[in-house]
Symmetry: C2
Subunit: 304 residues, 2 copies
């Protein structure tokens, strides 16, 4: 599937490089302001949590959504970096022993392993806080009302009604398996909210109409659902490959996911449907929208 989108893959990598470079600069040792002291160890932990060579999918969606609607590319890059700080803060905190207790991420020790538990908590806190700094800073050249809309949408996507709330539901789900509606809500909050924000952000940056904004938001919602289902399918395939078990039994094992409830076939069909629906939403934009549509496809078919 990968080779079907050579230009897409190139663009994804190219944008990831730009985001990485900006994040590297924003989190550089040299303070942006002589008055501001940034404790070295904490800054280093933040860098460890952020500069990890991720795919930068969420930033990519910000950049391409903004490009579709004519948003300023430099501003979009900064908003994309802010969003990535929020995503990475959530990974740093989710990896903590009290949460998912992961020692490795992308083959590297997680922040609380490479540093210590307290530093990991503070690095996550500081990354989350810094995201809002990046948006509000004068270097982000956008009208104040658009910045405000971005702060509001991001805080809702990331907070108790979004990602953080989704993580709380996910922890609760380990004790009591949620029903279908519970799973859907959990996933829409935990992973869906930031992906939806990424697409909506492009429209906000561009100062697009409410209609465009809603359309991009819905595109992000469907892409987020496809992302999560693809994730659950990947888990299943990985388990099947590793354990040498039949996929049918594996599906039964996958409690707490829609794949577990409805099976692999249903999930694959649903992913296809979501990608088609996401693409249809953008049909009015013509060829310009191809890259976003390919992103939805990529998300749905990714192998890692």
């Amino acid at each position: 599937m990968d080779s079907t989108y050579p230009s897409f893959e190139h663009r994804l990598k190219d944008n990831a490089g730009k985001i990485e470079a900006l994040l590297n600069r924003l989190l550089a040792d040299a303070s942006l302001d002589d008055e501001i002291v940034r404790p070295a160890r904490l800054l280093s932990a933040m860098r460890h949590g952020v500069l990890n060579g991720g795919k930068r999918l969420r930033p990519f969606l910000v950049l391409e959504s903004a490009a579709l609607l004519g948003g300023d590319a430099d501003a979009a890059l900064r908003i994309a970096a802010a969003l990535e700080c929020v995503h990475c803060y959530s990974l740093v905190h989710d990896d903590l022993p009290a949460m998912d207790d992961d020692n490795l991420r992308r083959g590297q020790p997680t922040v609380h392993i490479a540093y210590d538990y307290a530093t990991a908590i503070l690095a996550g806190d500081s990354l989350l806080t810094y995201a809002f700094d990046i948006i509000a800073a004068p270097e982000t050249q956008l009208p104040a009302d658009r910045k405000m809309a971005l702060v509001l949408a991001l805080s809702r996507a990331a907070g108790i009604g979004g990602m953080a709330g989704g993580q709380a539901l996910d922890l609760a789900a380990e004790k009591e398996t949620p029903d279908e509606s519970g799973i859907t809500t959990l996933q829409a909050m935990k992973t869906g909210a930031l992906i939806r924000f990424a697409c909506e952000a492009g429209a906000i940056i561009a100062g697009a109409s409410d209609e465009d904004r809603k359309r991009l938001r819905l595109f992000g919602e469907k892409t987020g659902l496809a992302f999560q289902l693809a994730d659950d399918l990947l888990d299943l395939t990985a388990d099947a490959a590793t354990m040498g078990k039949a996929t049918g039994k594996d599906a039964a094992r996958g409690k707490g996911t829609l794949v577990g409830l409805h099976g692999q076939e249903w999930a694959e069909a649903t992913v296809s449907r979501l990608v088609t629906e996401a693409g249809d939403l953008l049909s009015g934009y013509g060829d310009k929208a191809n890259i976003l549509i390919e992103t939805a496809r990529f998300v749905a078919n990714r192998r890692n």
Copy 2:
């Protein structure tokens, strides 16, 4: 000393009641938006961390600074509530076992004791995030450029260059005692930054001149320094009372504080000087500034 300021104390309590009521409403079970789900246990943990009957000193400074410069009282109340969410998030995270490991706060179990470790992390994260939601929300009726200035100033006060960075320095200070300049930086960041923001926020809310804003910011800085010295003095007195030790020996024990370095007498003189300087900064505003000046005095002379 308490009885010297009856009207001040009354006003402090009155404003604390208003803040408590607003926070209670903002963190009510009923969602503000039907689309937004707020997981009950996480919301309850956030309430536990916030609705604890604190003095609400930082919100008070926001309200009174805004009042001094003619800022809208309703908007100021919402910004004050946002700031209190940030302050309370920091307490929830600082109390965690990996940080200061406190089981009690204001006689109540801390959030990770009353709930669990993961929920306390997420409650802190969600409170921090929610602060920016409150500022950006349409219910906060301020021009977008003022909201933006508030987001920027708050994120800098709370982040790696402010409170979170100060907490990182504080944890490091347990292993290696900082020198005088290190202690000053640590305290200015850990406790000073939010107090300074509180005063500056009032000026931003009021759309005050740069000069007024700088003056309020400096007033907040001096008040913050007095606050911290008073805190260190309180520790000293409490220890002396509890342990029955002479205060002279106690001062020697107080490593990592300016009181420890320079002694009680110096600290008391410095607190007095800071309060006078803070008051002088506001002399041009006449009687209107009395309440803020009394706040600086209250902070410097508080007994808990």
